[in-house]
Amino acid sequence: MEAVEVEEITRVFEPRRRSGTRVVALDDVSLTVPTGEIHGLLGPNGAGKTTLVKILSTVLLPTSGKARVLGHDVVAETEAVRPLIGIVFGGERGLYWRLSGRQNLEYWGALYKLSTRAAKARAQQLLERVGMVDKADERVEEYSRGMKQRLHLARGLMGDGKVLFLDEPTTGMDPLAAREFRTLIGELRDEGRTILLATHDMVEAEMVCDRVTLIDRGKVIATESPRTLGHVLSRFQRIDVEGVPRAVLDEIRAIHGVTSVTAVDGAGTRIEVDEEGATQLVLEQLVNAGATSVRTSLPSLEEVYVQLIGERGMEI
């Protein structure tokens, strides 16, 4: 039995007013997540990731199609599904601000049918796990964004769910906290849980997930291993540099794998490559030429998509 099975799920949002537009948030989406996998759902904002997560967590009905979590239909068998899942939606809200972190957790424990004692114990355990024990008894409204995110994770685990849905859980977290978070997700997988992680952060998807489904405008583009993703990312890097003489730039243009060297108004030059290893050659050249203002950046998600789709000859 798979942990998550999505069969041709479509979700349409009808306009509420005559002037509104009809939005197809998900279009015939199919996907399978085996038990014990960390599966990434990667896509830009508005791609439909959150919509899919909401359908799977039973808070949104699909327009058509079927979905099952641990064998139970998410529409017809919500009572069977709900005790088995955990949800981490994150964000500034999602918690009672005037209560303490601990009080919030114990409330959710009660909702997941834990006895008072069990809820207290598990709340303490999870607070320790996410590193929030010191602040546990302060009001949530006093928490920083990162602390709230950690509490969201703890809350999502109160039900001890076998399948966890995480929607952009590291947004707003500082890099250190985000790294700890990812380690934690790995631990959860090792405990036998299945995790569906919705994110727009390619680096995160590449680092954490076992497989990644790319989704855009409601459609599945591809399901890839993170390694493929990683290759694409490192292939299509760009280098921004300032104050490099024309001669050096000409030499760089001649390097195999460099696709373009363009001047950017008032901000130096942008060098684009399309081969792994080309970046390193370019950087070596620049450093030898004495350039000090050098910056590399990754392609955007859209650009990655275009590359992948182009390679497959698929239409969006």
Partner: protein, 255 residues
């Protein structure tokens, strides 16, 4: 049962942190003083029970309408509604638990008005029919809870909460005979008032504080309970429908 207790405990914690919860507990003694002053100044001490019970009903109704009424909407704004729906426990029992807690807090107003009356006006009304008084209060709290559930569901559907709250407060105090018994209202209002449990509760509360034996106590208490139960049933049905619609439309969270 679990949901009810979870909700009850949650609301205890919420109330402690929320100053607005005090509003009905501050207005009740104030209204008691106002009403007592009117009846005393007119030399009508026999109406003191009326003056005392009205603020209690007004406070309980206000709690049902404003505090309980806005619960789902507030949860939705706070983004805790969606995860609640996704949990195995679900909204209805938690809501009832939370409302029940608020009603318990609201019943404190009963003691407040007596205290205010005694301290300021030296009012001392003997408890003529204490058991019946207690039972009426409990039945009223039950019916109020049902009404609160209905309000919470309607509130979510409403566009303008302000209009809703305003049109459901004083109009109901009048139509429900909360201070001035329905018998003193124009005849054509009577059918409307008689389907409101408020009017039955108000009459019973007043009667249980006055000397003569309460006429047809069980019948009238029954009306409070039945009307309360009907309101409860309607409330639950509306709630179910509203939640289902929100789930279908993806409105369990605000954008």
């Amino acid at each position: 049962m679990g949901g009810f207790l979870a909700g009850f405990r949650l609301e205890l914690q919420v109330v402690r942190a929320n100053p607005d919860a005090l509003i009905p507990l501050l207005t009740a003694p104030l209204f008691a003083v106002i009403f007592l002053a009117i009846v005393r100044q007119s030399g009508r001490s026999d109406l003191e029970p009326d003056a005392l019970m009205a603020p209690v009903l007004m406070s309980l109704w206000w709690i049902a309408l404003v505090q309980a009424g806005s619960m789902i909407t507030a949860d939705r704004w706070q983004a805790v509604l969606e995860p609640l729906i996704a949990s195995p426990t679900g909204l209805a029992s938690v809501l009832v638990g939370r409302v029940a807690c608020l009603m318990c807090v609201g019943l404190l107003s009963f003691f407040e008005v007596w205290l205010a009356g005694w301290l300021i006006f030296g009012v001392s009304i003997p408890f003529e029919h204490p058991l019946q008084l207690a039972m009426t209060l409990l039945a009223t709290a039950f019916a109020m809870t049902g009404t609160a559930v209905a309000f919470a569901a309607l509130f979510v559907m409403t566009r303008n909460a302000y209009t809703f709250i305003n049109s459901a407060s004083f109009p109901f105090y009048v139509l429900g005979g909360v201070l001035v018994p329905v018998a003193f209202l124009p005849d054509w209002i009577e059918p409307v008032s008689s389907v409101l449990f408020l009017s039955w509760s108000a009459d019973l509360l007043r009667a249980s504080l006055k000397e003569p034996a309460v006429d047809d106590f069980w019948g009238r208490l029954g009306m409070v309970l039945v009307l309360g139960a009907i309101t409860f049933a309607i409330g639950r049905a509306v709630l179910f429908h509203v939640l289902r619609r929100m789930r279908a439309r993806g409105e369990l969270a605000t954008a």
